[in-house]
């Protein structure tokens, strides 16, 4: 598919295009961005778009919004290859790949119900991040989250 045809949906004036999202993760990206039922700006989402590099990918485009560090970190956990394209005045003004942090804090809930991070104690969850594939190891109880990371995002 040519960029021409993709863009025909409706070009963004200012905002962010999250490209090369792991196919199937677009909905989770929207969740991370807090896009639920009612959202005031234009958001478009494409799923299973043919891609030379990935076979298939998802794309999310969101108007009038630049992402925060924490949102980028969360996206990196569920789709480490995603690229962020900052659109200003219809043009790609900046472009970078999300980057997996080495440690994520207060971002993911530990899967172990008996973990100290899941109690009323004044500690927040903390995980060490391993790449290829993404694995999260709780520093408190050492349980590892490898699957369905999106479901455990706080």
């Amino acid at each position: 598919m040519s960029a021409e045809k993709e863009l025909r949906v409706r070009p963004i004036h200012n905002g962010t295009v999250i490209d090369r999202i792991l196919a199937g993760q677009a909905m989770n990206v929207l969740k991370i961005l807090g896009v639920k039922g009612a959202y005031s700006d234009v958001v478009t989402m494409a799923m299973n778009v043919p891609s030379k590099a990935l076979g298939q990918k998802d794309i999310v485009k969101i108007e009038n919004r630049e992402l925060e560090e924490k949102e980028l970190d969360k996206i990196s956990l569920i789709s480490p290859g995603a690229t962020i394209n900052i659109i200003r005045d219809f043009e790609v003004a900046d472009k970078y790949q999300v980057e997996l942090p080495e440690i994520v804090e207060s971002m993911v809930k530990c899967i172990n119900p008996n973990c100290i991070s899941n109690t009323k104690e004044p500690v927040t969850s903390k995980f060490e991040v391993k790449k290829d594939p993404v694995q999260l190891r709780c520093i408190y109880c050492e349980n590892i989250i490898m699957e369905n990371i999106a479901e455990h995002l706080l």
Partner: protein
């Protein structure tokens, strides 16, 4: 070696050299542990924060402290303390660490000891954090093996509940530092979790698995038995079968190496028949005694006292 004021949370925090250092110090203190009194820790206070029942761990820490001339502060019963009022562990640690020179803690949540270390002004010694770690048990196990058998070129079988048993995971990890040949013996439903196996292999441990205890009995130096708990089996007949298959009796021991020793973290249920207690192989009571010199060693180390 820098140990003073260091927390003792998990065996993974130790190098082999550090473990050897602790075992050496325990050996020095063992005569004192057998009966005697010194003032190495005179004026020092150890706080015992046990949120879960414990006999051996708590009492051996108390004994260790008394033998070294120190004092012990006990949390007391749940009802008598502010735990019932819902005070957090974090607050408790902040307060108690201003009353004491070190804290031994047992708490039901995994990771509670690490969290406690974040809030404490004094060293935390983990006496068990749920299904997590119990490093002082592992250290006393290693001490027993070194003393009653040998740590180099060791052939050891670890038997029983290898899935939930917290002592087993830290023991296998520590043994891998010594290049031991480890045979894990368990029924299929109680095998060591894949994650832990992968972790051990990545650390170069030599591990194999079997369900058949008899087949390997004559080729090991140490037989480490653990409890198999009934609650793990939904089907009572299944439990009986498994419990029967891993029960050590004197008949079982006919073809074992003369020097083979039997260990158990205690309390035992039916895994070791009482007829075995008087055999030359039994070491489980010595093992529980060795908890005293090991804990004496740890206390002097974290409190920064030279021996």
């Amino acid at each position: 070696m820098r140990f003073e004021r260091r927390h003792i949370i998990s065996m993974k925090d130790f190098t082999r050299e550090e473990i050897d250092y602790i075992l050496d110090r325990a050996a020095k203190l063992e005569p004192l542990a057998r009966g005697g009194r010194s003032d190495l820790l005179a004026g020092k206070i150890l706080a015992l924060l046990f949120y879960e029942p414990s006999t051996r761990t708590r009492m051996s820490f108390e004994t260790a402290m008394y033998r070294l001339g120190g004092n012990v502060l006990n949390l007391g019963s749940k009802e008598a303390t502010s735990i019932v009022k819902g005070e957090t562990l974090a607050d408790m640690i902040r307060v108690v660490s201003t009353y004491s020179d070190a804290i031994v803690q047992r708490h039901p949540s995994e990771g509670s000891a690490l969290m406690a270390a974040e809030f404490s002004l004094v060293p935390i010694i983990n006496g068990g954090d749920g299904a997590g770690h119990h490093p002082t048990q592992t250290l006393l196990d290693l001490y027993t093996i070194r003393k009653e058998s040998h740590l180099d070129n060791l052939d050891i079988a670890i038997v029983g509940d290898l899935k939930y048993g917290r002592t087993v995971h830290s023991l296998t990890y520590a043994l891998s530092l010594y290049g031991a040949n480890i045979t894990l013996v368990s029924p299929p439903q109680l095998k060591v979790p894949d994650q832990i196996k992968a972790d051990l292999k990545a650390r170069g441990a030599r591990v194999r698995e079997t369900e058949n205890l008899e087949e390997i009995l004559d080729s090991i130096d140490v037989l480490y038995m653990t409890r198999i708990q009934k609650e793990r089996f939904p089907d009572p007949t299944e439990y009986k079968k498994v419990a029967g298959a891993y029960k050590i009796t004197t008949e079982y021991l006919r073809n074992v190496r003369d020097s083979m020793i039997i260990m158990h973290p205690l309390p035992r249920l039916y895994e070791i028949d009482s007829s075995v207690d008087t055999s030359s192989h039994a070491r489980y009571f010595e093992q529980s005694f060795y908890g005293v010199p090991i804990r004496m060693a740890l206390l002097t180390i974290v409190m920064g006292v030279e021996v």
